[in-house]
């Protein structure tokens, strides 16, 4: 068996203890990790061998659960998906920006969860039919219309990247609005009108100025920026139909 190569990794991790600290501070660690390792491996090694008080969230270690998001050298990333070999020198690890720090690298996701709920991220059937009539069917083309937007893993990297969310915390934000779009685009869904009450508002898509950072950092290639721009167009069409076409008011 070939020997796995190892490398010495230096990390600078932002620490915050809500019981004792008023400010966060950086702490330097040095660990030896496998050459093929990811930042999460280094953190786990630190926790196991050096400092059991270090806190961070993770679960799947394969970029599907969305819980290990953090800032790595200033960039929002999944730590289980960020290879150590791509970095030279000290790697700076911080909790996701724009979210309150609960402890060390653990942030409070409550605001995002609340917003996600507000866009009604579930199918609101066009017409209810009894179970005896069978399933709601969908063609592959109808599926493709929203498939990309259904790949979101709720990692909140897009919120950490979005300066509008940082500056205006009321903004519903990229992932939640994209979820609204995902269901609006679904042939089985009839809930668009209800969602528009959240989507087509100042806190909704109109807070977005198309910085595009969300799409650049999204690890699941959801492209939230595209969903938001499309919703701006359809919301504008709604407005024109309502206000400028005689008899268009619903």
């Amino acid at each position: 068996m070939t020997q796995m190569k190892e490398r010495l990794v230096q990390l600078e991790v932002l620490r915050y203890n809500p019981d004792t600290d008023t400010e966060a501070h950086f702490q330097r660690y040095e660990v030896t990790c496998y050459e093929e390792g990811v930042v999460l491996d280094a953190l786990n090694k630190i926790k196991a061998d050096i400092d059991p008080t270090l806190n961070f969230r993770w679960s799947c270690h394969m970029a599907v659960c969305g819980s290990c998001g953090m800032m790595i050298n200033g960039e929002p990333k999944l730590s289980c998906h960020t290879f150590l070999r791509e970095y030279e020198g000290v790697i700076r690890v911080e909790p996701l920006t724009h979210f309150p720090i609960e402890r060390d690298l653990v942030t409070a996701p409550d605001d995002f969860m609340e917003k996600l709920k507000r866009v009604k991220p579930y199918i609101i059937p066009k017409e209810d039919k009894p179970i005896s009539e069978g399933e709601y069917k969908q063609t592959p083309a109808q599926l493709m219309k929203f498939r990309q937007y259904s790949m979101c893993i709720n990692c909140m990297l897009c919120y950490a990247a979005c300066p509008q969310y940082g500056l205006t915390p009321e903004f519903i934000g990229p992932a939640a609005l994209t979820m609204a779009h995902r269901y609006n685009q679904d042939s089985r869904d009839g809930g668009r009108k209800e969602r528009q009450e959240v989507v087509a508002t100042h806190e909704g898509v109109w807070e977005c100025t198309f910085v595009g950072a969300c799409s650049e950092v999204c690890p699941a290639h959801v492209d939230p920026a595209s969903a938001l721009q499309q919703m701006k167009i359809t919301s504008s069409i709604d407005w024109i139909v309502e206000h400028m076409i005689p008899g268009g008011k619903k």
Partner: protein
Amino acid sequence: MSRRPLVREVPPTSWYFRHPRYLRYMSREITSIFVGAYCLLLVVGLQRLASGPTAWEGFLLGLRSADSIVFHLLALAAAVYHATTWFNATQKAMPIQIGEDFVPGNVISGAHYVVWVVLSFAILFLVGVF
């Protein structure tokens, strides 16, 4: 014992220095100042034209000044940058689905460039350049 989550403020005026992609965004936003200023110049020109031949001649003379030429070059660069970033963004805002597939993004953006060139030539033709 207080267990407060730590809220970090976003600097309201200097946040765009935090990442190159924010600077890129701000530079795109700033181009709109030049585009706006050029529109204003056109309005002033119309107003001069309406005030008679001497006012119009004066306006034309002003356009030939070095300052004016520098401004026009800057405004042109800003407008081109703004237009290209806009055209490149159209593929996100207006995807076209045919059956199960999407038309490739560069076809959608490319179509905008083609229309841009055609319209530009049409205008040049109308003002008698050819």
